[in-house]
């Protein structure tokens, strides 16, 4: 760990948002750079180039889980209906392409973001007054409503779903090949992640964390809590809409499976697995989850059982998720550092 050796010694206060201090920030920045390089290298690395479809799925899962964690981790709103907006994005693409004949992906992707955000606005306006279990149940009810509609209504493809989604390109960039589409997803996901990072690091983000701790107390700061909840709900909905659209263009097919409870629970599970109090927790969780699923699926038919048991074990053992464990290990290693090295600049 020579990279952090020259950093000033900081008391590691260990707030739920991660140990503070410039050294930690440096470590985080280093991790992000490595992750970005890895993401860009995946289609050309010998051991991953054969699995570009799988890696595209992972990027979409990371995007979706990070969006859900804006609610779960940052605002304390547990939504079991986040797939409503994933589905909204996917169906927006499905309908526009297969029924409307729209070829421009620029248009359909933007439309998916707008539809995801608008649906979240409508739904949020109805339910942000509720909290806890009532909120979770209402998100679930809304999801079921949409799923039933998609499944029964012929206009939306019914039980056959919507096939005939074709990938064209964005502007002059041709995205027909999977490798190229992978890069498109990577860039869009990174931009969306960067935007979400700014949001959680902003004054608005601090207000969200305050709401998570004690929403009622925020009222006594003169802040209209419901509007803030609605705001973040719309943001999460819009990003989920994008994830859904990217998913539709990956599978070239849209079905009511995108509106299933499984798809809704996944981002919440991934967030808890990685650590809801860390921005990159959901990303690490998504990667681990998908990898575990892939590993088990190839070996046993009862993989759902094993992944369930595995998740329970990890969640019980690591109260703050995988990233929480790493952060703790790092904090410990710094505390044990010989004094001379960390106090260089004091």
């Amino acid at each position: 760990m020579t990279a952090v050796g020259d950093a000033r010694s900081e008391p590691v206060t260990g707030t739920e948002s991660g140990p503070a201090g410039p050294a930690y920030r440096k470590l985080q920045a280093g991790g992000v750079v490595l992750a970005v390089l890895a993401v860009l290298a995946i289609p050309s690395l010998p051991f991953t180039s054969g699995d570009v479809f799988f890696w595209t799925e992972i990027l979409i899962a990371i995007l979706f889980a990070t969006a859900a964690n804006l609610l779960v981790g940052y605002t304390g709103l547990v939504s079991f209906g986040q797939a409503s907006f994933l589905g909204a994005g996917a169906y927006t693409v499905g309908m526009l392409v297969s029924k409307g004949g729209f070829e421009s992906m620029t248009f359909t992707l933007i439309a998916a973001v707008v539809v995801g955000g608008l649906m979240a606005l409508v739904m949020g306006a109805l339910i942000v007054r509720t909290t806890g279990l009532a909120f979770a149940v209402l998100t679930l009810a809304f999801l079921e409503l949409l799923r039933t509609m998609a499944f029964k209504e012929r206009t939306f493809g019914g039980e056959n779903g919507l096939s005939g989604v074709v990938r064209t390109g964005i502007g002059p960039i041709d995205l027909v090949s999977l490798d190229r589409y992978y890069y498109c997803v990577a860039v869009l996901a990174m931009v969306a992640m960067a935007m979400m990072w700014v949001v959680v690091s902003s004054p608005f983000g601090l207000t969200l964390r305050a709401i998570r701790d004690d929403a009622e107390r925020v009222d006594f700061l003169g802040v209209p809590v419901r509007l803030y909840k609605l705001g973040v709900f719309v943001m999460a909905g819009a990003v989920s809409g994008l994830a859904g659209a990217l998913d539709a263009y990956l599978n070239l097919f849209v079905s009511s499976e995108t509106l299933s409870l499984t798809r809704s629970a996944e981002p919440v599970l991934m967030s808890i697995l990685g650590g809801t109090s860390f921005f990159f927790g959901p990303a690490v969780g998504a990667l681990t989850y998908e990898w575990l699923q892939d590993l088990l699926q190839a070996r046993t038919a009862s993989w759902v059982l094993w992944i369930g048991l595995g998740l329970i074990a990890i969640i019980v053992a690591l109260r703050r998720g995988i990233v929480g464990l790493l952060a703790q290990a790092w904090a410990l290693s710094r505390r044990r550092d010989p004094a001379g090295r960390t106090e260089g600049k004091e």
Binding site: P203, F204, R209, R217, M235
Partner: protein
């Protein structure tokens, strides 16, 4: 001159009990007023009604002439009032600094700013640092609020209330749960604050030492009614007050 806070015939009934009946109270601008009374006299309900937690069953609450009866807590804060709770309510997972910053940005109207980094707002950071300095908890800025001592928690909550730059400050037992030393320090802080900022302060307190050290006037609440209001020395010697509350002459 308009009173800072004026209650007219304020009543509050819960399902079966009458917590307040016909409370009429006037706190002049800039005064430090203490409300005392035995447990169950209605002090907490009174604060709840003033700060928008409960809508009164009858009567009106005015803040500098502005009728705030039945407004939401957030709207009452907007009208110029801030409060602290008997058991400090903080954002436990946030640091001391972040707690105050949340209040500072609420006051500055920047809580909505979502596309700018928090740490780039120098003015808010400076104001936060100055407030922490003023109340004397700057040394704990990076500590998680949840692990503070009871005394520091109360001081942090006071700092958050001050960050809202209220014209009227409600403090529900500001020294509850404090050690004698912390109580003494808090009395000094409140005394200085009141003198320096000239804001109107309404506080409830069980510790008569604190009341007599700080209050310019004292109102005694008994069974949801105001028994009497007057300067501390007068109230202390009031036979009625001695009978219902103080028990014996102080």
């Amino acid at each position: 001159m308009t009173a800072a806070l004026r209650l007219d015939g304020v009543g509050k009934r819960f399902a079966r009990t009458t917590a307040l009946s016909g409370v009429t109270l006037e706190v002049p601008d800039g005064q430090l007023r203490a409300i005392i009374g035995p447990n169950g006299a209605g002090k907490s309900t009174l604060f709840g009604v003033i700060s928008g937690v409960h809508a009164p069953t009858s009567g009106t609450v005015r803040l500098y002439g502005d009728d705030i009866t039945g407004r939401s807590p957030a709207a009452v804060v907007k009208a110029g009032m801030a409060r602290a709770f008997q058991v400090a309510r903080l954002f436990n997972d946030l640091t001391v600094e972040e707690n105050v910053l949340a209040a500072v940005q609420a006051r500055r109207g920047t809580s909505w700013t979502f596309f700018r980094l928090l740490r780039s707002d120098r003015a808010a950071a400076e104001q936060t640092a100055a407030l922490l300095e003023e109340v004397g908890i700057a040394g704990r800025a990076a500590t998680r609020a949840g692990v503070l001592s009871q005394g520091d928690k109360k001081l942090l909550e006071l700092t958050m209330a001050l960050a809202l730059e209220p014209r009227v400050l409600l403090l529900d037992e500001p020294t509850a749960g404090m050690s004698p030393a912390e109580t003494q320090a808090t009395v000094e802080i409140l005394h200085d604050l009141h003198r320096r900022r000239g804001i109107t302060i309404l506080l409830t307190e069980h510790d008569m030492g604190v009341v007599f050290a700080l209050a310019e006037e004292v109102s005694v609440l008994h069974y949801g009614e105001v028994l009497t209001t007057g300067p501390p020395a007068e109230v202390r010697d009031d036979p009625q007050v001695i009978e219902v509350y103080l028990g014996e002459p102080l």
